[in-house]
Amino acid sequence: MSDPIFEVRNLNVSFAGSRGTSRVVRDVDLDVYREETLGIVGESGSGKSMLASALLNAVVEPGTTTGTVTYRPPDGPAVSVLELSEQELRRFRWEEIAMVFQGAMSSFNPVMRIRRHFRETLQDHNRNIEAGLERAESLLESVYLDPDRVLDAYPHELSGGMKQRALIALSLLLEPQVIVMDEPTAALDLLMQRSIVSLLEELQATHDLTIVFITHDLPLLTKLADRLTVMYAFQLIETAPVDAILYDAAHPYTRALLSATPDLDVAVDEMHAIDGTKPDPVAEIDGCSYHPRCPLANEQCVRTDPPSTSHSEQHTASCFHYEQAPAAVPIRGDDLAEADR
């Protein structure tokens, strides 16, 4: 199982600004396993999109990225992503790892037909155009689009959901190993979101893909991901397989997030908002970044940043008081896990 395709160690991203330096990714260690779907969940402004950009060494100026990101292709030597040259990066992105962003609307050039987007991608990467366009047609079909109609269309002639699916097809055109998706469904209707998620599951199986899926939408993520990592205030605070998060979450923030999520099956008075507000990126909070909002915080949390500790196999969390968390922040999964026993 532990066959990481990505190894991230001590990753930091910071921006110098007029109010001081914003550290928007802080000391992140993360493994992405080959052919898994890893979900990164966090509120807006928690740093999750920056983490995704750093994976591709795509943090925009004047941001600085430090640490190591190691990519291990199925064959060939390991690649240190943060040390690649501009030219190497060009090949690396899209051929090894593709990225799908939230605004499919703005990912396409409005004055170019969809076909030309596919053709230019093939040209720029020196691929055979004819074979590539044939592949494009079958990819479009696999996302339930009519290739003839879509390839001849301009972006504005497609609905949001169709554009997003066309973009997914485009991202798979050069047969990447990994696809990083940043809120790919956020602007879409639930019915379309859910359909795209079931579609991704099929695509992953057919193309042996590794998927990194970033969103604030926890319920959607649980339908797709194998493992989840929770980001709070620019740090990863808990990482575990989906069921371990749902039924045995260790960090008080993860638990608060679970109980703040509107859910059709949960009684309305069991859903609670999270107290307090999220921290400012410029602020350096001493100790645990969640302590100002945490019901379990004590002196230790104010003084020391809790290290990431193994809770069980594959389950790590950064909290001194994880043993008291279930009593302090109950979640519905507690009862369900109890009933199963």
Binding site: D189, R194, T277
Partner: protein
């Protein structure tokens, strides 16, 4: 106050026409019937939530309900007074200047609902200056301050002096909510008011709306594409959920009726699309095509039949009227709600492909 509902729509239809194109200026214009023969009443202190996909006409229906969009046919009235009759003036029982401030709106994107060049306090004073000119400046400020503190924006003076870009999304949405409440309205249209917020902030915002409702005796027409949000606010307030598809309300009822006893296959599809944290619902989508049909060329018969997993030949030709559901009698536009309907003797429509899903969207 009368016993009339705050707002009543009667057979309201809204049509939009596209202009003839440059090449064919005299061609038939495309007509989009955004709202199709909808009747809906919103009572005092009631929350009605309206759900459906984008493009189904829910925003147009909302705008029609608060009197900013004129229906092409049918009527919309405020406490029994036809809004458009009052608007055109002339001796109506309730004047338009009484109606306008009573029906307010919160938009989806609070960022673009606030003037970026004005301090929050200026944006908030404008409606009071327009509708209650008799208030002095200190009186206006006092009212704004009190309400700001009430929604948890403390210290109010600090927040009020900021520009919109200095507030977070949640704070902006609160400011907009305060603005709509300043005139003590009877009905607030909240059009996807919480959709732009993080999942973790939505419960908080809905709780705040409910708290203010109790305080101000306001009704809400709460528009959302998310069934779990609609259910939360409707259940907490004892309100109703209306499901809209391509201009029609296809099913309406209490939370219990819609969530636990949905009759329309579209309501069931929306329920499937609402992921739950706990529970295994991994099966294939209960729809035949992903994409919504082109609104300028609506399908024959029941609008939903090209996507409906239960469609029969009967549905291709006949549009279902409002039928009372067998168990609890809530209205629903699907033949299946009637156990004895001749629909059941009709053969299923043949699927175009073997897949459970196919490339849909007969656009163009």
């Amino acid at each position: 106050m009368s016993n009339e509902p705050v707002v009543a729509l009667k057979n309201a239809t809204v049509e939009f026409k596209t202009e003839g194109s440059l090449l064919n200026p005299f061609g038939d214009p495309d007509v989009v019937r955004a709202v199709n023969d909808v009747s809906l009443e919103i009572g005092d202190r009631e929350i009605v939530t309206l759900i459906g996909e984008s493009g189904c006409g829910k925003s147009t229906l909302g705008r029609t309900a608060i009197g900013v969009q004129q229906p092409s046919s049918g009527s919309v009235s405020y406490r029994g007074q036809d809004i458009w009759a009052a608007r055109s003036g002339g001796g109506t029982e309730i004047s338009y200047s009484e109606i306008r401030p009573a029906l307010q709106m919160i938009h989806q994107d609070p960022g673009s609902a606030l003037n970026p060049n004005q301090r929050i306090v200026t944006s908030l004073s404008l409606p009071l200056r327009r509708w209650q000119p008799e208030l002095s400046r200190p009186e206006r400020m006092e009212r704004i301050h009190a309400l700001f503190e009430r929604v948890g924006m403390q210290p109010a003076a600090d927040f009020l002096n900021r520009y919109p870009h200095q507030l977070s999304g949640g704070e902006k949405q609160r400011a907009v909510l305060v603005r709509s409440l300043l005139l003590n309205p009877d009905l607030i249209l909240a059009d996807e008011a919480i959709s732009a917020l993080d999942v973790s902030l939505r419960v908080e915002m809905m709780d705040l709306m409910l708290e203010l409702q109790a305080l101000f005796d306001t009704s809400y027409l709460f528009i959302s594409h998310d069934l779990s949000n609609a259910r939360y606010i409707a259940e907490k307030s004892g309100g109703r959920i209306a499901v809209m598809y391509l201009g029609r309300i296809v099913e309406v009822g209490t939370v219990d009726e819609i969530i636990n006893n949905p009759q329309h296959p579209y309501t069931k599809a929306l329920r499937w699309a609402t992921p739950n944290l706990y529970g295994d619902d991994e099966e294939q989508p209960p729809i035949r095509t992903i994409d919504v049909p082109d609104p300028t060329a609506l399908p024959t018969g029941c609008n939903f039949h090209p996507r409906c997993p239960n469609a029969r030949e009967f549905c291709v030709n006949q549009s279902p009227p409002e039928i009372e559901a067998n168990d609890d009698g809530h209205p629903c536009r699907c033949f299946r709600a009637d156990e004895d309907h001749e629909y059941w003797d009709s053969p299923p429509v043949s699927s175009d492909s073997d897949d459970t899903l196919s490339a849909g969207g007969d656009h163009q």
